[in-house]
Every structure is written in C-alpha cells, then in structure tokens.
Symmetry: C2
Subunit: 238 residues, 2 copies
Amino acid sequence: MQSSDPIPSAAPTHDPAETRSRLLDAAEQLFAEHGFNGVSMRTITGTAGVNLAAAHYHFQGKEGLYRAVFERRVVPMNEERARLLQACLDEEARTGQLDPSAVLDAFIGPAIRISAAPGADNFRRLSGRASADPSPEARRTIYELYDTVAARFVDILARACPHLAQEDLFWRLACIYGAMMYVRADSGRLQQLLGSEYSMADSSAAMHHIIPVLAAGLAVPSLAKSRGKGKRRSSRGS
Amino acid sequence: MQSSDPIPSAAPTHDPAETRSRLLDAAEQLFAEHGFNGVSMRTITGTAGVNLAAAHYHFQGKEGLYRAVFERRVVPMNEERARLLQACLDEEARTGQLDPSAVLDAFIGPAIRISAAPGADNFRRLSGRASADPSPEARRTIYELYDTVAARFVDILARACPHLAQEDLFWRLACIYGAMMYVRADSGRLQQLLGSEYSMADSSAAMHHIIPVLAAGLAVPSLAKSRGKGKRRSSRGS
DNA sequence: TTAAGTGTCAAACGGACGTTTGAATCATGC
DNA sequence: GCATGATTCAAACGTCCGTTTGACACTTAA
C-alpha cells in the first residue's frame, strides 16, 4: 500500500539505513536552501519519501536531524583538519619553521574540498550559511562540532605568525573566517555582480586563489597600537 | 524560545510616526537576533508595544516590515558609498592614480561605520547575517537595495587593479565581501575562540585592521592561469 | 455638527507547524 | 507455528503563524 508521495521517484522503503540517509540528504539540501526555520519537517520527509513520524523516530525531532546532517560531514572533515595540522607541527619539529600558508591550507582545505565528496555540495552551502544563522539550534550545533579543531587551528596559526599581536590575530582571523565562509555559503551574489561564469564550487580554483591572498594578509606587519593592552604574544609552549 | 511578553515600558501611542519607528526598532533587533523566519509578527509587535494589526497597516505585512528596516539604514549608507566612490574617481581624474585602498575604504567604511549611528548596531549584525540568509524575502531585499552601488564598486575596484584578471577579481572580491560580512555579522565566534575582549562593534578598529590586510591581498599578482579563458581585462572607459 | 479620513484595537480567520499516538507491518529467533 | 523488537504508517494533538476584519477613537475641515 503506497501512499501518494510528492516526489514520484522516492519509493517507500523498509530499510532503516536507507530511511536515515534519505532523510539526511533531503534535509541537507533543504536546510541549505531555506535555513533551519525556513523548512518544515513535512517538506523534508515529503522530499525524502519518508513518513513524517519516521524522522522523529530516527532523529528525535528537527534539531536532532539538523545536527545529524552536520555530524555526517563534519566529523570526517575535522579528522582531516587535525591530520593536516599535525603534519604542520611535525614539519615544524623537523625544520623549526611553521609556514602560515600551510596552516591556512590545513584548516581551509578540508572545508572547501568537502564539496568534492559525493553529494556533499549542498553541505558546503549549508555550512557557510549556518555560520551566520542566528537561530540557537544552529549556533549550538556549530559551536559543539567545530570548536575543538578550530581552537587548535587558532593556536597553531598564532605560533606561525609571531609578528602579530593578539589584536592583529583577531582581525586577520575575521578576514580568514569571512573569506572561507563566504566561499562556502556561495550566495551567488558575486556571479551576478560580475556577470561571470566562475563558480565557488570549484574547490581547487578556490584554494589556488584564496590561500595566497589570505597569506599576504597575514604577512602584513602588526597594526596593533601597542598601548600596553595590545600586548605582543609571548611564545608559549603547548 | 523567544519571549513574547511585551516590554512594560512601551506604553501605547497614537502618534503614527512613533508607531512606525518603534516597530522598525523592535524588528531590527529581533530580525538580527533570530533571522527573518525566526521571529513572529506577534513577538515584534509585542516588543514594540504596538498592536499586531498596526504593523500590517503601516508596512503591509512581514516582508514589508523587513524591507523597511533595511531601507531606513541602507539608503543613507548607499549615498555615502556613492559619494566616497565619486571622490575616488575625482582623485583619479586629477592625479591619474586610483588607489585600491581608497576604493576599499569607500565601500567598506560606510558599511562598518553604520553601527556608529544611534541605535544602528543591531542593523550591523542584521545586514551581515542577511547576506547569508537563504530565504527569498531576504535575498530579494538585499539584491534590490545594494546592487546599484555594489556594481559601481566592483567596476571601480577593477580599474584600480589593472594587474588582475577577471578570475582574480572574482576570488579577491569573495575575500573582501567575506571579511566585511563576517565583521558585520559578528557571530561572537572569534571572541569565544580567542577568549579575547576585542569587539567587532569598534568600527574604527575594524577599518584600521581590515583595510590594509585586504589591500595586501589585492596587491598579490595575478594567479589566473592564462589559458585564453582567464583573459586579462582591457582598460575600458566607463 | 457633521462627515471624512487616519490610526488603533480585540478578536478571529484558515492554515501550517513540530510532535505524539497507537495500530499495522516487517525481520528474526525460538 | 509464534513471540519479540524494530520500523513504518495515517491520523491526530495542541500551538503558533501571517493576515484580515469590523468596531472604535481621534483629528481635521467645512
């Protein structure tokens, strides 16, 4: 007995694993397009061809589904980030040098290249937009999932840029985070403004163009007005 | 999730101008905090101490209110942007030089300094977050209100950077827009990550730190792989 | 005084929301 | 066979949503 589905291709299933992945795929796409508050559970389950109650059975509600969408992509991404950052530290231990470009690459690369994973291009846009999503569900999810590795990145980048004061670091990180998030969010605004055919989904082009530009920004000497407060950081060991 | 109790100090009014401005102020704050879909008209009118129907009387519904919130701040901001960009062009006509830093300053300055206007700090966060808000109401509003001056900025910046190909321009603009929007959105994430007391609401500090960093990014030589497609732009006159 | 116009008000409209329920259906082991 | 736990299903729950209505208050001008 099949119910009438909005999407004809989505046939009912009794495989719980497929139910879960169908829900995650539909939610990923729809959250990316409309934001957390812009989609209803009915739309998501309808798109996935899954019963409304099944979504609550598997994910305990809307926020649980939202969090699961992130976890599926962010956990592997964080592992790659941690691995690449560790490689930077290994290189430092060997040569005594810590290249800011390599640190940038280790942090931004996995986030940009995530769209290369099969079916993950929706997640790239979702994660970029979620960084500016003010809804508490989004903020909670992001903080908990990204923070450990992000804090590690900030720490290592600070050591790679000993010429920068804490105040400098704050604003340069704003530029770095901003550029990364803007490329991920991919609002389509620049394509419209430039009338150009370049796409932010091209992860290798993004890395090729963005890393040197951000590295040049990091290389600018300290701009902090050293009034005692804007103290230069000491080289701390950790 | 959101408190729906009206502010006790908000006494009823019969002055239509005050009703309008109270609604705009409450909407500005609540849209910034929760996004377009995250606030209800009841919460907004309750916070403003205004009757629910009055909001529809004055603004013809929720999207009209959203748009009015933007218009109040963006129209003057665009005038300042246009004025400063024209000053760059005047300088170019006089000296034959077009300074990329000055062009950046003319575009970013008014957007950052907007938080200095009385009561406009909520709008700074709102506009930053709206740039990544995928809801059609937000996108429509933004495109229509910002685009004319934004296109002018892109055009002038391109002329100020004759060493850059169209492809370079695309990615550097992503960095510029990203940094500007990230500072405006002010998610509080960097403060948490750094454990620092620096605030993105400090517009003079923001300009002092961000413009030189972005200018250094613009000064990086072209990274476009010149394969015929990534053509260098010709100096066009308009 | 009266008539029109403007703005506010409480109340209601129909619909969409996230979530829950309890029965039906499935695979599996005895 | 039959019991068990896992999963799906249609239907409903109560609440909140954006918007509309029509009565009422106030100002203005003839």
